[in-house]
């Protein structure tokens, strides 16, 4: 039997807006993926540590506070340090287009802004996950 895609849905930083993260976590689970949700207030170190421990294929970062450039970068950098470059990192939140381009250059595979359907996210993960 094929191994299920393992996804870590994570809330970096102090942001408490967890509606999107929870909706996405549940949609991914309903789509047959194995989902681990970190809960709130995670430092980038905690997120990467959980990703290592749980051996995930995908990390979904959700942030609506505006601190995405700093915190997403930290996660991607730490992943590289731990040799986990093959983990697919995606992000979502209140993120202007200009910042989304910057995030992609840093190594975030895709940024899902407001209005994205959960199906688009599921499809993107299935197509791009490296297993």
């Amino acid at each position: 039997m094929e191994r299920k895609i393992r996804v870590l849905v994570a809330k970096p930083g102090l942001d408490g807006h967890d509606r999107g993260a929870k909706v996405v976590a549940r949609a991914l689970r309903d789509a047959g993926m194995e989902v681990i949700y970190t809960g709130l207030h995670q430092t980038p170190e905690m997120i990467v540590e959980t990703a290592v421990q749980e051996d995930v294929d995908v990390i979904g970062l959700s942030l609506l506070s505006g601190a995405h450039l700093t915190l997403f970068r930290d996660v991607v950098t730490l992943l590289k340090k731990r040799g986990m470059d093959d983990v697919l990192v995606v992000g979502g939140g209140v993120i202007p287009e200009e910042d989304a381009s910057k995030l992609k250059k840093m190594g975030v595979a895709e940024v899902f802004g407001p209005g994205t359907t959960t199906d688009e996210i599921i499809e993107f993960i299935r197509k791009n996950v490296k297993k």
Binding site: G13, D18, A25, A67
Partner: protein, 558 residues
């Protein structure tokens, strides 16, 4: 509400209409949907008639504005007498930048201030704390000490303008800074007016910017009630908030039920402490969301007033003011779309109109660019102008509760009230609001509703113009506010200088006194005031309380 004979005549005529007109018409022209519902999922019929409100007693259930049950408004004249306060929630970057925005808004006709703090401030951390990384000034202004508060309100007369502050975990500390700053301006604390949000229950339920566990948090809140009723009588010491519950994904019914349940929990806690209900109840205020379902929102505001008046009376309140449900409204941020952002101006107009027709005391209108970033100056001006147009051009303010008496509105108001009491029963069965939070009840209810809503949008059962229908294939191009990165350095320098130059012995003494008081059961407000006046920082003051009270960790539910 109607006499039996009249009612039976109406019933007969309505049945005839259904058979001869409605059903006949349906044969050739079916309705667009099998089922019509409100956004909360309540079934809506094609037509409402006197039959649907026949069970209501006009004098008892509807009545007159300014009188029980306050369904039609808390004041006799409502917006004929005074327009609601136009209060735009704003804050970003440094205190200097936000102060400039406040002056800008006041110059353009804003009538009250509303402070948005950044995340570190909301959690009681100073800007130089490791957890503050990347968050400085991003979703609000950073206030780490009285010094920042002084800059934030520079040139703003605190005896003439009221200020609302969205702060919860560290509300007592931020309020103390505001009081201390007013005193520095020469304004005694009994002359200042405003609101601290100070509603920790909805933080556990929805907004999630909590610090301490429920019990010490409630203690701090009751401390502010008590202190306010004695020394700061014009201050609303809490704004019991449904806004964030709704933004987290709840329905209108859940927003209303959970908010009122929270409110009653505070009232009971204060009474258990020995406070007299009529001493503190007049300073309780509320904060609701205004979402897309126009009539449902209006019904929600009306029902809120009637339920609150009834419940407060049941708890023994005697003063009419104690029965008043006074509320601020903000249009629903979660309805804003990143796509075709100009459409948001129209959404906000409808939501704002619902709030006004629902009898709001104060209103924030969202800016069209807020699904992308904090609002630009231009966007916030349009949002303010939206309120001014409703207030001064539309004439909806000419009469009190203009939708009162509408068969649909009265039925829906009553229906929402009925649904609210069903939730009250469920919360009661769980042992009250705090046990229900600990069991994850509210969080689960909200997550369910949020997921259902998203599925409906994804499956095209719910239209979002510009997002799942009428899309445009062109990039989004509106100017976006950028928070100046230099601000963080300025702020950290200011903090370092403050810690160097203040009387550190005095700071330590004040913090130690606070620690000792926190370990006992005295009212902490005077101790907190001493700390902030000695220029102890927000982080230092909250750290003392963290040591004594511990920190809250939430159950994970999705």
């Amino acid at each position: 509400m109607f006499d039996e004979k009249e009612l039976s005549g109406i019933k007969k005529a309505r049945e005839e209409w259904e058979e001869k007109s409605y059903k006949e018409y349906l044969k050739k022209h079916p309705e667009r949907k099998k089922r019509f519902t409100t956004l909360s999922g309540l079934d809506v019929k094609a037509l409402y008639t006197p039959e649907d409100i026949a069970h209501l007693d006009y004098l008892k259930d509807i009545g007159f504005p300014g009188m029980e049950p306050f369904l039609r408004g808390i004041h006799a004249t409502m917006h004929r007498g005074r327009i609601w306060t136009m209060r735009m929630f704003s804050g970003f970057g440094t205190a200097e930048e936000t102060n400039k925005r406040y002056h800008y808004l006041l110059e353009h006709g804003e009538t009250g201030l509303s402070v948005a703090f950044d995340y570190p401030t909301l959690y009681g951390y100073d800007t130089d704390h490791p957890f503050a990384r990347g968050e400085f000034g991003k979703c609000g202004v950073a206030v780490s000490s009285l010094k920042d508060m002084e800059i934030l309100f520079d040139g703003i007369p605190l005896d003439k303008i009221t200020t609302s502050m969205t702060i919860n975990g560290p509300a007592a500390v931020i309020w103390a800074m505001y009081i201390a700053n007013a005193e520095r301006q020469g304004i005694p604390k009994d002359k200042i007016g405003g609101t601290i949000q100070n509603d920790i229950l909805k933080e556990y339920i929805a907004q999630k910017s909590f610090i301490f566990p429920p019990e010490p948090s409630l203690r701090l809140i009751i401390d502010t009630f008590e202190y306010g009723s004695k020394y700061v009588p014009k201050w609303n010491t809490i704004s019991i908030s449904g806004y964030h519950i709704r933004e987290a994904g709840s329905t209108a019914v859940q927003e209303l039920a959970f908010t009122l349940a929270d409110g009653l929990t505070y009232v009971k806690a204060a009474m258990e402490r020995g406070l007299k209900i009529d001493d503190f109840a007049p300073r309780l205020s509320f904060f609701f969301n205004s979402h897309n379902d126009f009539f449902e929102e209006i019904a929600k505001f009306r029902a809120a007033r009637r339920i609150w008046a009834r419940e407060m009376k049941n708890l023994g309140a005697k003063k009419p003011r104690s029965l008043w449900m006074r509320f601020h409204t903000q249009t629903a941020g979660c309805t804003l779309t990143a796509q075709q952002p100009e459409n948001n101006i129209v959404r906000v107009t409808l939501q704002a109109l619902a709030a006004v027709l629902g009898g709001t005391q104060s209103l924030h209108t969202n800016s069209m660019d807020e699904a992308l970033a904090l609002p630009s100056e231009k966007a916030v001006l349009i949002a303010l102008r939206t309120q001014q147009i409703i207030a001064e051009e539309s004439n909806v303010t000419n009469t009190v509760d203009p939708l009162g008496g509408s068969y649909y509105i009265e039925w829906l108001t009553d229906k929402m009230e009925e649904e609210v009491y069903k939730y009250f029963d469920r919360i009661e069965q769980l042992g009250g609001v705090i046990p229900a939070i600990e069991k994850g009840f509210f969080q689960r209810e909200i997550a369910e509703s949020a997921y259902r809503y998203q599925r409906e949008v994804d499956e095209m059962k719910r239209v979002v113009v510009g997002v799942n229908k009428y899309q445009l294939d062109e990039p989004i191009s509106i100017p976006i506010l950028k928070v100046d990165e230099k601000g963080e350095r300025i702020q950290i320098e200011r903090l370092k200088k403050l810690r160097r130059e203040r009387d550190n012995a005095k700071v330590e003494k004040a913090l130690n006194a606070l620690r000792k008081a926190a370990e006992g059961d005295e009212n902490l407000m005077p101790y907190i005031l001493d700390c902030v006046k000695a220029y102890a920082t927000l982080g230092e003051t909250c750290d003392v309380l963290r040591e004594v009270f511990g920190e809250y960790k939430e159950p994970i539910i999705y």
